[in-house]
């Protein structure tokens, strides 16, 4: 009798544990996953899945229709990716509302929008939807994240496997990445805060993979691009007069300069950009223009935070997809270089 009670509590504990940790995954999917995992010893590890995903995202010809949901707003978008002459080409557009399109090819990205003149910027970094997780160095990223296979499910009609990237500390968000089991292409990406609340979600609803590059992309690759615009570079050689004395694990300073806000009266700002391979954080240090009632202000939308802090004559603004705690600690660590 005692044994029976013990047994049932054990089951209860297991149930509680699974429901606690799986988070939005059907339990039958979970069972499936563990079964197949046991059945196939040669199954890939989480990091191998993620690395295969990176390869597929860069090398395959595919078309994704996806939804981007952010604070109860859903925006349908399309991405067509291909490889032309060994070079990646990506065409992106919004499917609803005004026409907004972009094309990234051979180190340049062009923007087209209804009613405004198109323009091109130099940009070597892939800017498409899953680019941040597709460019991440997962080997190195083990310092800041743990990768765990959560289970299997079905997304966009495909068998999918969910992998969780759990931040090892509170200074960055965690992610759940869903991959197509056959092609390893990403199908869904959830950005979670430390209370497991989804802040931002990208979900593919249709995935088409083709042998050959889409004729549309082939045609676009031969088109002439709109005029190339250059950023005002003049002041960028000078370093900012500020130093960050604390960085969350994995983050590096990738930019440190003084430039002008072209969008705001050419106001001069000291600028530092941090990057950890997944997110970029901008830090602006400038003279205080208007004194706020509070010393600090936080504006948040989805995963993005805008943190304003005023101290003496100085105003510091931090923008990026990081938790508020991180922004706060970064600000505390800023000091003037002598």
């Amino acid at each position: 009798m005692k044994l029976k009670i013990l047994f049932s509590t054990l089951i209860a504990i297991v149930v509680v544990m699974t429901s606690g940790s799986t988070f939005a995954i059907e339990t039958d999917g979970m069972n499936q996953a563990s079964e197949s995992y046991i059945a196939k010893k040669e199954t890939l590890t989480a990091i191998e899945y993620l690395q295969f995903m990176q390869k597929s995202y860069k090398e395959l010809n595919y078309e994704l229709l996806y939804l981007n949901s952010l604070q109860s707003q859903v925006e349908p978008k399309q991405l067509i990716h291909g490889v032309v002459d060994d070079q990646e080409i990506a065409y992106f557009r919004f499917l609803n509302g005004a026409m907004r399109e972009s094309l990234q090819y051979s180190g340049k990205i062009s923007y087209f929008e209804q009613g405004t003149q198109a323009y091109t910027l130099e940009s070597t970094l892939n800017r498409s939807v899953f680019a941040n997780i597709a460019n991440f160095d997962y080997e190195k990223g083990q310092d800041s994240y743990e990768y765990i296979i959560l289970g299997k499910g079905r997304i966009a009609g495909k068998q999918a496997i969910a992998i969780r990237m759990i931040s090892k500390d509170e200074y960055r968000y965690s992610y759940i990445v869903w991959l197509d089991v056959d092609s390893y292409l990403p199908l869904r990406l959830d950005t979670l805060n430390k209370s497991n609340l989804i802040l931002d979600q990208v979900m593919v609803v249709s995935l088409l993979i083709s042998e050959k590059v889409s004729p549309w992309l082939d045609k676009l690759s031969k088109q002439q691009l709109p005029q190339l615009l250059n950023l005002p570079q003049a002041s960028q050689k000078e370093k900012s007069e500020w130093a960050i004395n604390w960085l969350p694990t994995g983050f590096n300073v990738v930019r440190n300069d003084q430039h002008k806000l072209v969008m705001h009266n050419n106001e001069p700002v000291s600028y530092i950009m941090l990057n950890d391979g997944i997110v970029s954080v901008s830090i602006y240090i400038s003279a205080k223009k208007i004194t706020l009632d509070e010393k600090q202000k936080v504006i948040q939308r989805g995963a993005t935070v805008l943190y304003t802090y005023q101290k003496g004559d100085i105003e510091i603004n931090i923008i990026g997809d990081i938790p508020v705690v991180t922004a706060k600690r970064l600000i505390e660590s800023i000091s003037k270089v002598k």
Binding site: R255, Q300, L306
Partner: protein, 185 residues
């Protein structure tokens, strides 16, 4: 006018039978009114075309004269407006000025995380991320939305103008952030 046209049309089609008074009135008007005459001849033309009684060259809907007249007029006014400023001067500054303008719209909307700043303030959301007092969490709306780009709450101490300026600045910072992301090394 419409009525008259109708009468004209029935007149041409010989469908006015017993309204002689009406007919003579109409004819009188036709003799005096130039517009009616033009209409009358057009109706005849239409009728002819429909009956296939027209040889091609008879249809002379001649717009060329009008077009020429317009062009002349435009050339005249264009000459008057032509500025003395040399064209190259404009081109030089073009690249950056228009850049700020152009960039301001799309690049934000394109980004997954584009924030824009808004009207109403939402007070601290306890339990989510920050429980610290003094930090307000503002609810924000993306660029495409119908909300005016204003943000921080107008607490009585601060003038509306100051807040507006501050928000414009935040907006500019967000755009610059997007821009920096685009051109990230």
């Amino acid at each position: 006018m419409k009525d008259n046209n109708e009468q004209l049309s029935t007149l041409i089609d010989n469908e006015i039978i017993d309204h002689e008074v009406c007919e003579s009135q109409l004819l009188d008007e036709l003799i005096t009114n130039k517009r009616q005459q033009a209409q009358f001849s057009r109706y005849h033309l239409v009728g002819d075309v429909m009956r296939g009684e027209v040889v091609d060259q008879f249809i002379n809907i001649d717009i060329s004269q009008q077009v020429m007249a317009r062009i002349e007029k435009q050339a005249e006014s264009a000459q008057v407006v032509t500025p003395d400023t040399p064209v190259y001067a404009m081109k030089e500054s073009n690249n950056i000025v228009s850049f700020a303008k152009r960039f301001s719209q799309y690049a934000i909307a394109a980004s997954v995380a584009g924030i824009v700043v808004l009207t109403s303030i939402v007070t601290s959301q306890p339990g989510i991320e920050n429980n610290e007092p003094g930090i307000e969490v503002l609810n924000t709306v993306p660029f495409g939305g119908a909300v005016a780009p204003v943000s921080l709450q107008a607490s009585h101490m601060q003038s509306k103008q100051a807040i507006k300026e501050h928000n414009e600045r935040l907006d500019a910072l967000l755009k610059d952030h997007q821009l920096q992301l685009q051109t990230q090394p």
